[in-house]
C-alpha cells in the first residue's frame, strides 16, 4: 500500500495541470458544501436563539383551549394564572401573556390585529416591556418595526383601537405608540401590538387571567396545572426546525450538482488515463505488479484528488470561512419579509462533524468514481496493453 501510495502521488503530481484542474474543482465543492451547511447551521442556531429569546422562552403553558392557528379559540382561551406560579412570575421567571383579537384604524384604514398583554417586569422575553413603566399614557403600546412600517405608525402616534371584552361587548380607545422594537422574529411583530398585561386584563374584564405562560430558565418538573397544557421548546420550535430541514434538503440538490461536476471531471480523467496509459499499465504488469495492484494504483490516484482538494480547500478555505464566521453574511430585508426568522446578518457555524462528514462523503464518492473506470484494467490483456492497443 505504501508503494502504491508513493507511485500514486508521483503519477498525480506528474500529471500536472490535469490533476490541478480536478483538485481545484473538487476543492470548490468542499468549500461550498461546508460553507452552505455552515450557513444553514448558523441560521438554525440564530433562529432558535431568537425564537427562544423573543417568543417561545424555554417552553410554554397554554390555556387548554388555545390554538394559535385558530383565532376563534381566543374567545375561550383564557384562565386565571395558576397560583403555583406566583413566585416565579414575581421573580420574572414566567411571563404571562394574554391574547385577544382587535382592530386598529391607522390612517383611517382598518387593520385586524392581535392584542397581546405582557407584564412590564418580565425578564423571560426580550420584548421591551419596561417602556410601559416610563409611560403615563392611558393605553401605551409597543410595536415591532415591521408592524409599524406596514401601518405607517411611529413612536408618539395615536390611533383608535377596538376590541371585544369577555362579555362580547365592543369597546374602543385611543392607543399611543410608545416604542418600536426591532426583532428578527416576525411572529412577535407582524399583525400584533403589545400592551401592559394589567391594562389588557382590565380592558377585557379578565383580571388575573392569561392565555399562555412563557417559561424562563427553570425546571417545570413536569408540573402542568389543570386546564393548561405544556408545550416544550422543541414543539414550539418545530416550525423553524422544519424550515431549516427543508432548506437543508434543498441544499442537497446544490451538493449533487457540485459533486457531479467534480466527479465527472475525475471520472473523465480516469477514463482518459486508462485509455492513454495502456502502455504504462502493461509495463507495471510486466515489471511484476498484479492487475489488481494496478487497479488499486489507479483508484488511489483518483481518490487522492480528494485528499489534495481537501488540503487546497484548507489553504484558501479556512481563512475565507473564518472571515465569514466572524463578519457574518447580510440577509437584510430579504427572508424576514417572507415571515422567516432571519437575522440581518447570519454567522455561519462550522462544526468538526460537518467538516469531517463532508470530507468523508467526498472522499468516498471520489474513490467509487475512481474505481469504476479502473475496473477495466482488470480485464485488459497485458500483452495488448503493452502495445497500447485499444480494447
Amino acid at each position: 500500500m505504501k508503494l502504491l501510495f508513493k507511485l500514486a502521488i508521483k503519477n498525480l503530481t506528474g500529471a500536472g495541470l490535469r490533476t490541478w484542474l480536478n483538485v481545484i474543482v473538487l476543492s470548490f465543492s468542499f468549500l461550498i458544501i461546508i460553507w452552505h451547511k455552515g450557513l444553514l447551521n448558523g441560521w438554525d442556531r440564530q433562529a432558535r436563539n431568537d425564537m427562544v429569546n423573543w417568543e417561545t422562552g424555554t417552553g410554554q403553558f397554554w390555556q387548554s383551549s388555545y390554538d394559535p392557528f385558530d383565532p376563534f379559540s381566543l374567545t375561550d382561551a383564557h384562565s386565571q394564572i395558576p397560583s403555583v406560579f406566583d413566585t416565579l412570575i414575581t421573580k420574572g421567571e414566567i411571563a404571562p401573556v394574554l391574547i385577544t383579537q382587535g382592530t386598529i384604524y391607522p390612517g383611517g384604514r382598518i387593520q385586524s390585529i392581535l392584542i397581546k398583554g405582557i407584564s412590564s417586569d418580565q425578564r423571560v422575553l426580550k420584548l421591551p416591556g419596561e417602556l410601559f413603566l416610563k409611560s403615563n399614557d392611558d393605553l401605551p403600546v409597543l410595536l415591532g418595526s415591521k408592524m409599524a412600517r406596514d401601518n405607517g405608525l411611529k413612536t408618539g402616534d395615536v390611533t383608535t383601537i377596538r376590541w371585544r371584552d369577555v362579555h362580547g361587548t365592543f369597546d374602543a380607545n385611543e392607543m399611543k405608540v410608545i416604542g418600536i422594537f426591532d426583532t428578527n422574529v416576525p411572529s412577535v411583530d407582524a399583525g400584533q401590538i403589545w400592551v401592559p398585561l394589567d391594562r389588557l386584563q382590565k380592558m377585557m374584564g379578565m383580571p388575573g387571567e392569561a392565555t399562555i405562560l412563557v417559561c424562563g430558565n427553570f425546571d417545570t418538573n413536569g408540573r402542568t396545572p389543570e386546564g393548561w397544557k405544556f408545550k416544550s421548546s422543541e414543539e414550539l420550535l418545530k416550525t423553524v426546525t422544519d424550515i431549516i430541514k427543508m432548506k437543508s434538503a434543498g441544499g442537497i440538490v446544490l451538493y449533487i450538482i457540485l459533486m457531479s461536476l467534480a466527479m465527472l471531471a475525475i471520472f473523465d480523467t480516469q477514463v482518459l488515463s486508462i485509455f492513454r496509459r495502456q502502455k504504462e499499465i502493461g509495463t507495471y504488469i510486466a515489471l511484476g505488479m498484479t492487475r489488481s495492484q494496478v487497479v488499486g494504483l489507479f483508484t488511489l490516484e483518483g481518490s487522492l484528488n480528494s485528499v489534495l482538494a481537501a488540503l487546497l480547500a484548507a489553504v484558501y478555505g479556512i481563512p475565507l470561512l473564518a472571515l465569514q464566521a466572524t463578519k457574518g453574511m447580510s440577509f437584510a430585508g430579504t427572508a424576514k419579509s417572507y415571515g422567516l426568522v432571519v437575522a440581518d446578518k447570519i454567522f455561519p457555524v462550522y462544526s468538526l462533524g460537518l467538516v469531517a462528514t463532508t470530507i468523508i462523503l467526498i472522499m468516498l464518492t471520489t474513490t467509487i468514481v475512481s474505481y469504476l473506470p479502473s475496473r477495466r484494467i482488470a480485464k485488459m490483456k497485458p500483452t495488448e496493453a503493452l502495445r497500447g492497443k485499444l480494447q
Partner: protein, 232 residues
C-alpha cells in the same frame, strides 16, 4: 530439465480467437534455452516471435503444450505467481521503451526495486550501478522526454537489468533506433550478457541484432524452421 536449461518448451501452441474461427500464432514449438545464452527468435511479422516471448515472460499462457521457465510451468501459474516470477527473475525490454513519462531516469530504473521492497540505500546503490553500466549517471534527474531514443532504450535496459534477472526478454529493442544507437545498445547487452551471465532472448527481424546473436531461432508461421548457433 538439464541444470543449465532455463527455458524448456514442448509442443507449444497458441491460438487466438478471430471473427472467422481462430488464428494459430504458435504451432508446436519445441525449444530449450540455457543459462547465459544470447539468443534471438527471428522471423517475419506474424511469425509468432512476440507471442513466444510473451509466453516465456508469463504475460500470456499457452493454449496447448508446455512452457517451463526457471522450473515453473507457465500454464500452472496463477496471477500472483506469474507476477512474482516477472518481478523477481525476469526483465523486459520493449521496442518503444515503455518508460514512465512522469518519472526521472533514476525513478524509472528504481521501480522494479520498489516492487521488490528493497530499502532505500540498497535501491540507490543498485540503480546507480545499473546506470553506470549503461553510461547514464549524468542523466539521473532527466525525464524520458528529455532523452534521445538511444538513451531511452539504455534506460529501459538499465531498468531490466537493475534487479539482475536471470532472463531478459527484449522485443524488437532496436526497431526505433538508428544504426549507431542500435550497435551501441547491442554491444552493451553483449557485455552485460558476458559479465552477469544473464540470458538474453530477442524477438527481432533486424539484421543488426541478428549479427550479434550467438543463437538464432527462425520462426515461420508459428513453427521453428531453423535453430542454429551463429558462432558470434
Amino acid at each position: 530439465m538439464e541444470n543449465s536449461t532455463l527455458i524448456s518448451i514442448e509442443s507449444l501452441k497458441k491460438h487466438f480467437p478471430t471473427s472467422g474461427g481462430r488464428f494459430t500464432a504458435l504451432n508446436g514449438i519445441d525449444l530449450k534455452i540455457g543459462k547465459a545464452e544470447f539468443t534471438g527468435v527471428v522471423g517475419p511479422s506474424g511469425s509468432g516471435k512476440t507471442t513466444l516471448l510473451n509466453i516465456i515472460g508469463s504475460l500470456d499462457s499457452p493454449s496447448e503444450g508446455r512452457a517451463m521457465v526457471l522450473g515453473l510451468s507457465i500454464s500452472d501459474l496463477n496471477v500472483k505467481q506469474a507476477a512474482l516470477l516477472r518481478r523477481t527473475r525476469l526483465g523486459f525490454i520493449f521496442q518503444s521503451y515503455n518508460l514512465l513519462p512522469v518519472y526521472t531516469v533514476f525513478e524509472n530504473v528504481e521501480l522494479p526495486l520498489l516492487l521488490l521492497k528493497l530499502n532505500e540505500s540498497q535501491r540507490r546503490k543498485m540503480v546507480m550501478d545499473s546506470l553506470e553500466w549503461l553510461g547514464l549517471t549524468d542523466k539521473v534527474k532527466s525525464k524520458p522526454a528529455q532523452l534521445s531514443g538511444g538513451e531511452c532504450q539504455r534506460v529501459a535496459i538499465a531498468r531490466a537489468m537493475v534487479k539482475r534477472p536471470e532472463i531478459v526478454l527484449a522485443d524488437e529493442p532496436t526497431a526505433n533506433l538508428d544504426a549507431a544507437n542500435s550497435h551501441n545498445i547491442l554491444k552493451t547487452m553483449v557485455r552485460l550478457n558476458s559479465e552477469f551471465q544473464t540470458t538474453f532472448i530477442f524477438a527481432t527481424h533486424d539484421d543488426k541484432v541478428i549479427s550479434y546473436l550467438k543463437r538464432k531461432i527462425s520462426l515461420v508461421d508459428g513453427k521453428v524452421e531453423k535453430d542454429e548457433i551463429t558462432g558470434n
